[in-house]
C-alpha cells in the first residue's frame, strides 16, 4: 500500500489568467460583439426559464466564458431552453440567446476536432 496515498496536491480553484483558454470567447465575440457590454447585472438569470427548473445560471455562463473557465461550459449550456427571454430583458441589449448558441456551436466543433474544451 502506498503510505502517501492520502497526500495529493489539490487542484486550485483559483481562476488563473496565465492559463486562459480564449478560444470560445474569441469565437463568441467575433459573431456576437454585443456580449462585450455585459455588466453581470443578473437580469437574465432572474428571468431564465431553465434557471427556474434547474441550477442553470445564465449570468455565470457569461462569466465562465469571459474568465476562460470553459471546461464545464459545454455540459452546462445543454440546460438552456433557448426561450430567449434573457435577450428580451437585457439592459445592454446583448443577444444572450445567440451567445449560448455560439458556445454550443463552437464547442461542438472543437469537440468534433478532438480538441479539449
Amino acid at each position: 500500500m502506498n503510505e502517501f496515498a492520502h497526500l495529493v496536491s489539490r487542484p486550485s480553484r483559483q481562476i488563473d489568467y496565465q492559463t486562459f483558454d480564449n478560444r470560445l470567447l474569441a469565437y463568441v465575440l467575433r459573431y456576437e460583439p454585443s456580449f462585450l457590454t455585459c455588466m453581470s447585472c443578473g437580469g437574465c438569470t432572474a428571468t431564465c426559464s431553465a434557471g427556474k427548473l434547474t441550477d442553470f445560471n445564465i449570468r455565470r455562463i457569461g462569466l465562465m466564458l469571459r474568465r476562460g473557465q470553459t471546461d464545464k461550459l459545454a455540459a452546462e449550456i445543454d440546460k438552456c431552453m433557448f426561450c430567449g427571454k434573457c435577450s428580451l430583458v437585457c439592459p445592454r441589449d446583448v443577444n444572450i440567446r445567440n451567445v449560448v448558441l455560439l458556445i454550443k456551436k463552437e464547442s461542438t466543433r472543437l469537440h468534433a476536432e478532438n480538441q479539449k474544451v
Binding site: I15, Y17, R67
Partner: protein, 352 residues
Amino acid sequence: MEKEQKHVAVIGAGIAGLHTANLLAQSGHKVTILEKEKYPGGHLNQWHHLFPDHSSPEWIISGLLDEQLQFDHLKMISSTEITSIEKNNGHFAINAGNELRIYADAVVISTGFKLFDARQKEEYGYGLFKNVITSADLEQSLKSGQPLTTASGKTPSRVAFIHCIGSRDAKCGNTYCSKVCCITGVKQALEISEMLPETEIFCFYMDLRLYGSKFDDLYLQAQKKHKIQFIRGRLSEAAETHDKRLQIKAEDTLSGRPLRMEVDMIVLLAGMEKNEAHQMFSSTKLLELDEHGFFKSKNIQLTRNETTQPGIFIAGTCICPMSVNETIENAGAASILVNRYLEHQQLTNHHE
C-alpha cells in the same frame, strides 16, 4: 448711501478659489487670493485630460486667470502659507509668512484635497515595485506625451486598474467614497487603450460609481470599443515576480472564485483625502471638521459652503471629493453665499 467696498480673502488658488474670487470681484468686492505654491491651478496642473470629454484642463486654468485681469481690485499673492486666522468684531485677520497680515470681512477657504499616499497600502507595493503607479503618476506620464512603458522600457501587454485606493477603506481610516476615481480609471483605461490598442486592460472594482450620465457612456465605450474588462473584486495584494511582472490576487466575486493574474503594470486609483492644512483651522477652534477631516458645513443640504463660523466660507474639495465641473459649480454657489453674507453685514452695520 454709497456701498462700502468689502474685502474677501480667498485661501487657495486652485480652480475653486480662482472661480470664487472672480465672481466676488465681479460683484464689486475687493479680493485677495493667497496661494502657498508658486503657481495657481492646484492639482489640475497635473492633469492631462479631463473626463468625460477628454478636454485639456489648461484652458480652464488659463481662462480663470485671464478673467482675473479685468479686475483691478483682485490681487493674488503666491508662495505664501497661512499661519493663523483670528476673528475680531466680525472681521478677520489673516497671518501669513513674511509677516504678512491681511484684514478681511469674509474668508473663503478653498484649500482643496490631498492625494492619498498609496504607500500606506503596503500590500500593493507602491514605492516598492517600479511598475506600480498611481492614477496621478499615469496622468503625468500621459501629459508628457511619451508612450507608456514599464520600468524596463517595454510596452505593457497587460495593465490593471485598481479602484478604491485609500477610499472606502477602514484600514487607512477613509471610509468614504472619493467619487471621481471610478470615472478617472475608466477615462485613463480608454486613453491607454487608444495609445496601446494591443494592451489588455482590466479594472478591479467593488462598485462602479459612475454617477454622471456621460460617465456611463464612457463605461459602455470602454467595454464595447476597447474590450476593457471589469472584474468585481477588491485587490488583496500585488507582488513582484522573478521577471519583474506583478502577480495580483482578487476574488472574482461574481463568479465566487479567487483569481490570480500577472500584469505588467498596475495603476492605483488614489482617492482624495483631507488636506493637512485643515488641522490649523480646527486646532484654533475657529472651524469644525467633519468625521473625515474635511471642513464641516453649517448645513450639509442647504448651505454646503457655509462653515460653522459666520464669515468663513468653503469651496471645492476642501468640503468633500468633487470633480472639476462640480468644483466650479460649488465655487459659484460659495460666491453667492459670500455675497449674501456681506450684503447682510452692510445692512446691519448701517442700522447700527
